[in-house]
Structures are given as structure tokens and as C-alpha cells.
């Protein structure tokens, strides 16, 4: 380095002492660099915030409509004879459907809404699930036959889309499912209070529905699938991961074998999740013979994926406990295990919890391995019956369900996919909140 690059000490050579009140060129450059660096940092944060806001706005705007649904409210008299006749027929629901349509016609006539449509065409306003819904009610409540019961039938997804602004008269010109003329009726029915948009609990708690009935689809069962998977992951990955890290960090001798294990744990953390999926398929389903599409298999597969994350973060937080604490414990005659469990582990607990929650969050949002073990099943049946069935019966998981909806053709499913993302994020935030509360509880000040 030449002298020219160091102007500072050169100043005395001119015979003048440098003043503290004026900055020399080097200091100026240094300060400018620091200011620039701070500006870069702020810009980076602002860009990040912009993306976050854009993401949240997009999610809420696209997803919020999924939480409301258009319903058609009808009072139907359950006549014993009609029901008997319906149950005696071959296609049982068709007569229920006729009853509902007749009631709708009657209601419209009573409200003075005129139409030249026949009952079947008019019935397109309703979701095709209506007859099944009514029959289920009748079968569950036979004692109410003979009474007049108020039903909230789902409107068809086109009617629902119209009320949410997704469907317009123009878009219905060539739609076989609904015509613009229906929309005029819908407007009048809405005025008469027969059609109404209310909060859609069945989206939050219901099961998925067939391709042609997006209005009926809910994420509830997939949520239960995710919940049972998380139980499996937590129950396996946390104890195994923490025990492995404690052994590796505190007890294991330093030799080639432990080095080898260490390298491999780090490598495992970087393995693409689909690899774990195919491993889960080969081992848990094909070799062990566990049921396909079951949360227990999903949980086991995700456990494999989560373990390295938990091991790495647990080891890092064990390393961060000052060695003086271990020395102090050993110095008063504690055994190695006592020093670890009485002193080191409690101090490392906040870090372990953080790692665990990151691992669980990762597992919760993972889709790829679930595709391979068949946890994208379309679950027409409803809730699992009891805990064992929760683990063993075919189910889906939230991200897989969202993926499933996103790839279906009907735009009404697209809205559900975004709504599902909102629920997934809420689920995650709840988990994070629990972790933060636990951390607070365990954190100790030095």
C-alpha cells in the first residue's frame, strides 16, 4: 500500500496540525459508506414489507369471499306420505328434490315473483346437494315428520358467485348451469329475503365436495387431518430430536463416526421433501403396510423431514449455554446427566422450542410428500370417528386440500383455495403464539 492512500498521517508533513472540527477525506468516505449501507438495509426492509403487504392483501381479497356463502331459506312441510313415497322410490333423492322445487315455486308465487321457467330449470338456483341435505335431515329426525321445518339450502355456485361479483350476466350467456334470466329471479328472491349471504361455517368445518359442487366444499376435515399429523410429528420428532441432540452434543465422543453422523444430519435438512415422500411410501405403506392416505403415515413421513431441523436447532441452543454452567454443576458433584437435565436443558429450552415450532410449521405447510402417500384423497365422508380413526382413516391435509382446489377448473374452487390459505395461516399463527407463550414461560434472565 502506498503512502498516498493514507492521507491522514500525511497532514503533519505540511506543518499544519489536523483539526478535529473538520473531517478528513478518509473519515468522510467511511461515514458515507456507513450511511449508504444503512440506506440499503432500509430499502431491503421496505421491499420486504411491500411484498408482505401485497401477499396479505391478495390473500384476504381473494380468500375472504370463501367465508360467506349464499343460502336459500325455505320452509318445507314434511308430509309423511310424500316421504314414504320418496323412500320407496329407486332414486330416493329425486322426490325430495321435487318437493324442494315445488316449495320454491310456491314461495315465489306467494311473494308475487313471476317466471315462466319450469321447476327443473328454476331448480338450478339451488345447489345439487339440496335433496341429500333434506333427506339426511329426515333420516336423522324421523320424529319431526309432519312438522314444517326451515331449511337453509346452499345456492348453486353460480348464484353464489353472482352475489360475490364473480359471475356476471355476460359470463352466463353460454353457461349451461345457469342463465341470465335466473339472475333476475335471484335479485327478486334476495329482495324477498329468500336468498341470503351469511357466514359459511361449513367452509371452516365441513368436508371437501365433488368437482361440480364447489359451494359445498369445506376444509374442516383436512384441518383435522393436519391436526392429527402434527400430533404424530410432535410426539415423535420432539423427543427423538432432542434426545439425539443432547447425546451428540453432551455425551458422544468426538470421533469419525459422530462427525459422519453430524454431516449427514446437516445433509438431511437439505433433502427435498418429495424424497421423504417417496421414502414414506416405500417404507411405511409398502413395507410396513400402514393404511394409505392416513394421517399416521403422513405424520411419520413429516417426522423424518422435521427431525434434522429440530436436531440442528437444539444442538445450536445447547452449544449456546455457557460452559461455565456445566463446570459449575460438575464442580459441586453433579453427574453429567444431572448437569444436562438440571441446568443446560432448561437454559436451552427456549431455543429448542423455537426450532421445534419452525420444524412443525414447515411440516404443516408441506404438500409434496403428501402427494406421494396419497393424502390428497377426496374425502366425501365426514369427520373421523374418534381418535384411532383420526390417525388411521384416509384423510387429507390442509395444504394438500388447497392444492387440490387450486387445480380444479371451476373458479369457485379458486376462491376456496385462497380461503383455505387464510385458515392455514391462522392455524400456523396459533401454533406460533403457543410457542411464544411457552418461550416466555421458560426464558430466564442471566
Amino acid at each position: 500500500m502506498s503512502d498516498a492512500s493514507i492521507p491522514g498521517p500525511a497532514a503533519p508533513a505540511t506543518g499544519k496540525k489536523s483539526s478535529l472540527l473538520e473531517l478528513d477525506a478518509r473519515t468522510k468516505r467511511r461515514n458515507a459508506a456507513e450511511t449508504r449501507f444503512k440506506a440499503y438495509g432500509i430499502v431491503a426492509i421496505l421491499i420486504g414489507l411491500c411484498f408482505l403487504v401485497a401477499l396479505l392483501v391478495a390473500i384476504v381479497r381473494n380468500g375472504a369471499p370463501a367465508f360467506t356463502q349464499t343460502f336459500v331459506t325455505l320452509d318445507i312441510e314434511l308430509e309423511a306420505e310424500a316421504i314414504e313415497a320418496a323412500e320407496a322410490s329407486v332414486v330416493k333423492t329425486s322426490q325430495y328434490r321435487d318437493m324442494i322445487r315445488a316449495e320454491l315455486m310456491g314461495r315465489m308465487a306467494a311473494e308475487g315473483i313471476e317466471t315462466d321457467m319450469d321447476a327443473n330449470t328454476l331448480g338450478q338456483i339451488l345447489s345439487s346437494s339440496e335433496a341429500g341435505q333434506m333427506r339426511d335431515f329426515v333420516l336423522e329426525n324421523p320424529d319431526r315428520i309432519g312438522e314444517t321445518v326451515t331449511f337453509n339450502f346452499l345456492a348453486s355456485s353460480r348464484v353464489d358467485g353472482y352475489s360475490k361479483g364473480r359471475v356476471t350476466r355476460e359470463s352466463l350467456e353460454r353457461d349451461p348451469n345457469l342463465s341470465p334470466a335466473h339472475l333476475d329471479l335471484v335479485d327478486q328472491l334476495e329482495e324477498a329475503g329468500i336468498i341470503e349471504r351469511t357466514f359459511n361455517w361449513s367452509f371452516v368445518f365441513g368436508a371437501d365436495a365433488s368437482d361440480s359442487r364447489p359451494e359445498q366444499a369445506g376444509i374442516g376435515v383436512a384441518m383435522i387431518g393436519s391436526f392429527f399429523m402434527m400430533l404424530v410429528v410432535l410426539a415423535l420428532a420432539l423427543p427423538i430430536g432432542v434426545a439425539a441432540s443432547i447425546y451428540l452434543e453432551e455425551f458422544a465422543p468426538q470421533n469419525r463416526f459422530t462427525d459422519f453422523i453430524e454431516v449427514n444430519i446437516s445433509n438431511l435438512a437439505a433433502v427435498p421433501s418429495i424424497v421423504f415422500g417417496i421414502l414414506g411410501l416405500a417404507v411405511f405403506i409398502q413395507l410396513v403396510g400402514l393404511p394409505q392416505s392416513a394421517p399416521i403415515v403422513g405424520g411419520l413421513t413429516l417426522t423424518l423431514m422435521t427431525l434434522p431441523t429440530i436436531v440442528i436447532s437444539t444442538r445450536a441452543s445447547l452449544k449456546a449455554v455457557p460452559p461455565s454452567i456445566r463446570a459449575a454443576a460438575l464442580g459441586v458433584g453433579a453427574s453429567k446427566m444431572q448437569s444436562v437435565f438440571h441446568h443446560v436443558l432448561p437454559l436451552a429450552l427456549p431455543g429448542i422450542l423455537t426450532g421445534t415450532i419452525i420444524g412443525l410449521a414447515q411440516a404443516l405447510g408441506e404438500t409434496a410428500p403428501l402427494l406421494l402417500i396419497g393424502m390428497v384423497g377426496f374425502i366425501a365422508s365426514n369427520y373421523p370417528e374418534g381418535v384411532a380413526s383420526g390417525f388411521l382413516d384416509p384423510n387429507s391435509a390442509m395444504p394438500a386440500q388447497i392444492y387440490e382446489w387450486a387445480k380444479r377448473a371451476d373458479p369457485a374452487f379458486y376462491e376456496r383455495a385462497w380461503g383455505g390459505i387464510i385458515i392455514l395461516l391462522l392455524f400456523l399463527m396459533t401454533m406460533n403464539l403457543i410457542a411464544i407463550l411457552l418461550r416466555r414461560r421458560f426464558e430466564r434472565r442471566w
Binding site: P253, S324, R326, A328, L330, G331, V332, G333, W446
Partner: protein, 265 residues
């Protein structure tokens, strides 16, 4: 009995507590301690002095087998505590450390309450049958460490909230709570101010009545003030081991003299 002990002391024939013969310590390839022979007496403060890196702390850590926790450390030779080889295969280092307590250079209280800090040792060794006995041990230990008056009103406050000198005395209380026979102190005052140092030194002198105390120190004045015997280490060798008075006034080895007079070290 007291009279008898006094006479014993006057003729300077104390019992040998620890006897180390031909001790070698290796850190991997490095030969850190070479041929050290030391006899540490009961009810005596023995000081280890010497320049940094001379092996005095390493040797101290041999006495309660704290070097076992370092993978690459290897100890050879014999160290007898009351005539028993502490490196015998049958000896559990955990049991040994209950007998040979240790106080470290930096105060390292557990991040728990003052009470729990002191009670930890007695708890894991099952020394108290009930809460009252434990309370008694805690009080006795804190009194011995001259911390009782300052701490009695805040036993449940965190030990880490005490000042540096108080923390070190808390660590001493923690060490004496397990009723050790030997107390090892690795530069216990290096992180303390002169006032706290004075308190700890006073304490060390009192502890001598019950324990054999071994102290590693960088301060020759401290060695002169608190110890009866002094060992001078240099480059892994034990250069000289004698009465403190003799070491500081009339050392036999020229290296000792140079170190004490400040010419090397």
C-alpha cells in the same frame, strides 16, 4: 483434642491430604504438566503461582478430575486423596467432586435463586432429609461464605443479580454446602475489585480451619497474604514448593526468584 491439634500445628506436622507423584498431563500431543510431585496438607492454604500457561490451573483441575471433561486431556501418575488413588478405575469422578469442591475463575452462579444455588449440591447428594435441614445447610454455608447478612432477606432473588464479589462468595457457599474436604479455587479473585478480593481472602483464611484449600493465583501478593505453602510452576514444571515465607524471601531456585522479583513472567 483442640489442644492436641494446636500442638500439632505448632510443630507443623499436619496430615497429608493430597499427595501427587510423578503427574504428567498431555493435551493431545502437548505435554502440559511434567513430573509434578506435590504434597498438600490438611487445614492449610496452598497457593499455586506462576506465569500464564504454566500449567497451574491444569494441575488444579487434575485434583478433582475436571480434566476428564476434556476429551483430549490425558493424565498419568498417581494422585492420592487420603491415601486413595483418585484415578483408580473404581473411583467415580462424581463422588470425588463432592469431596473435592471447586470455585472457578469467573463467578458462575446458576441462573436460579440464591437459595437454590446453595441448595443444589446438598439436594443432589441427598444431604438433607427435609426442608428444615436444607434451610440449615443453606444458612450455614452462606454464613461460612460471609454472605448471609447480605443475602438473608433475598434468598429467593436470582443469584445472577448479585454483584461480582457477592456472586463469587455465593459460588464459595455453593462449594462448601456439599461439605467437601478439599476446596480448589482457580483464580477466585481475578474478576473482583480489591474490596471484594479482601473479603474473599479473609474468607479463604477462615475456611482453612475446616478444609484444605488449594488456590491458583496470578497475584503474588495474594499468595503471600493467604497461603502457608506455595508452589511455583513454570512451563509445566513444578519449580519449587515450600513454605510461603521461604519462597518469597529466600527461594532456592533462580527462576523462582526472577519471577517473584518480576524479571520473568
Amino acid at each position: 483434642m483442640d489442644d492436641q491439634r494446636l500442638t500439632e500445628r505448632s510443630v507443623d506436622q499436619k496430615e497429608i491430604k493430597i499427595s501427587a507423584k510423578n503427574v504428567q498431563v498431555y493435551y493431545g500431543e502437548t505435554h502440559a504438566i511434567k513430573d509434578v510431585d506435590v504434597e498438600i496438607e490438611d487445614n492449610t492454604v496452598t497457593a499455586f503461582i506462576g506465569p500464564s500457561g504454566c500449567g497451574k490451573s491444569t494441575f488444579l483441575r487434575c485434583l478433582n478430575r475436571m480434566n476428564d471433561t476434556i476429551d483430549i486431556a490425558r493424565v498419568e501418575g498417581t494422585i492420592l486423596l487420603d491415601g486413595e488413588d483418585i484415578y483408580d478405575k473404581r473411583v467415580d469422578p462424581v463422588q470425588l467432586r463432592a469431596k473435592v469442591g471447586m470455585v472457578f475463575q469467573k463467578p458462575n452462579p446458576f441462573p436460579k435463586s440464591i437459595y437454590d444455588n446453595v441448595a443444589y449440591g446438598p439436594r443432589i447428594h441427598g444431604m438433607a432429609k427435609n426442608r428444615a435441614e436444607l434451610d440449615e445447610i443453606v444458612e450455614k454455608s452462606l454464613r461460612r461464605a460471609a454472605l448471609w447478612d447480605e443475602a438473608k432477606d433475598r434468598l429467593q432473588a436470582p443469584g445472577t443479580g448479585l454483584s461480582g464479589g457477592q456472586q463469587q462468595r455465593l459460588c464459595i457457599a455453593r462449594a462448601v454446602a456439599t461439605e467437601p474436604e478439599v476446596l480448589l479455587m482457580d483464580e477466585p479473585c481475578s474478576a473482583l475489585d480489591p474490596i471484594a478480593t479482601g473479603q474473599v481472602e479473609e474468607l479463604i483464611d477462615e475456611l482453612r480451619t475446616n478444609y484444605s484449600v488449594v488456590i491458583v493465583t496470578h497475584s503474588m501478593q495474594q499468595a503471600a497474604r493467604v497461603s502457608q505453602k506455595t508452589a511455583f510452576f513454570h512451563l509445566g514444571n513444578l519449580v519449587e514448593f515450600d513454605e510461603t515465607g521461604k519462597i518469597f524471601t529466600n527461594p532456592e531456585d533462580s527462576r523462582t526468584e526472577s519471577y517473584i522479583s518480576g524479571r520473568i513472567g
